[in-house]
Amino acid sequence: MSTPIDYLLHLADNAVVLGQRNAEWCGHGPILEEDLALANVSLDLIGQARLLYQRAAELMGGDATEDKLAYFRDAHQFRNYTLLELPHHGPLVGYAAADRDYATTIVRNFLYSTLMVLVWDKLLQSKDASLAAIAAKSLKEASYHLHHSRDWLVRLGDGTEESHARVQAAVNHLMPYTEEFWTTSPAEGAAVAAGVGIDVWALRPEWDAMVNEALEEATLTRPNFHGYVTEGKVGLHSEHLSYLLGEMQGLARAHPNATW
């Protein structure tokens, strides 16, 4: 069996969407060092996405390219977790607007990179040799992303009253979206059957332990959650993804095949 394209797109879309989100801080970081850090994390993620899109395009054949996959698919064709497309702030009502909230950024990067160090580590054994090679690089990068976000999670959580309250609010807001990690999409099921993907469900105990340990160190409380599970990875997204893609894809669509 061959590698399901949708599985590669799921991994690639996760990386490109979070990379695009984090890059919004470029030039707006709370301090210069964090501005640089987020730009570097984005570079890693976009680099990972490029390698995955290249592999997907290679398998698709025809005129598929990494650029076509990144710039010329619409929101419903993206296979990323809903968690990763959310703006950098809590839920709002109607036309309300809010500034970017660094606690939201840090908590999301922490939850995602904790998952990805486990995922990439297992994907080292993938029967798709290209995917295993990408996993070997991505694992090293994800571990730095985890270091960075976990450090800040603890610093903010165990910081001032204000920083604690904001990071706790971000945890309460984002944690329910992680439920999507543990459902099996058709693409994930097919990838497991083909020996190229991994059973994410099996990673849950370790992910829980790593998250709980960090939350405890950060003096934060893990919210209980039972309810609606998002389905971004099967293409059912929140309203936020099309805005994100509008910004990301606008230039490439206005000037197709432009070079500079």
Binding site: E33, L36, A37, D44, A132, A133, K137
Partner: protein, 165 residues
């Protein structure tokens, strides 16, 4: 080794990294191999960080050097085995230190990358300027993807640390 392969190695021997001009691509482990294939000579390079913007420049530099020397060779990018800072020679590390960048420690051998290594458990990074190990990390990410920002508490100088990868 065929003369073509020798010629390519000789041409690329002194080609340096665009961001860190004191070390060569060969010393950094980016230039992996030059080999004779059925349809000509092949130059194998491997990316450092997945998103390193210097990789495009590096590939261009390799092509331009070959072209200038009048050598027809293909440049291919190979991901596996994944690049590691452990491939850097001691000489290259010393060049980095003299340039003001603390060279990378060896990547931890027995520790899985997955297991969270607490900063207190990692070996101290020596200041490339005064040699003191009384240093603190300012940020895990510096001016490029491969470096972290540190500060020396003895001589007060900030410096870059080439992160183990």
């Amino acid at each position: 080794m065929s003369s073509n392969v020798d010629k390519v190695w000789a041409t690329l021997e002194h080609l340096t990294d665009p961001e860190i001009p004191v070390v060569t691509l060969r010393e950094l482990g980016i230039l992996r191999d030059v080999r004779e294939t059925a349809d000509g000579v092949e130059v194998v390079i491997t990316p450092t960080y997945s998103g390193c913007p210097a990789m495009g420049q590096i590939e261009d530099d390799v092509r331009a050097s070959l072209e200038q020397a009048g050598i027809a060779a293909r440049v291919i990018t190979q991901l596996a085995p994944a690049w590691t800072t452990d491939w850097m020679s001691d000489e290259a590390k010393e060049k980095l230190r003299k340039y003001g960048i603390a060279p990378p420690h060896h990547t931890p051998k027995d520790v899985s990358v997955v297991k969270f290594v607490r900063r207190a458990d990692t070996a101290p990074v020596a200041c490339p300027l005064c040699g003191s190990t009384h240093t603190v990390v300012t940020s895990q990410f510096g001016s490029t993807a491969c470096k972290a920002l540190y500060r020396c508490l003895s001589c007060q100088e900030p410096f870059d640390y080439f992160k183990p990868y």
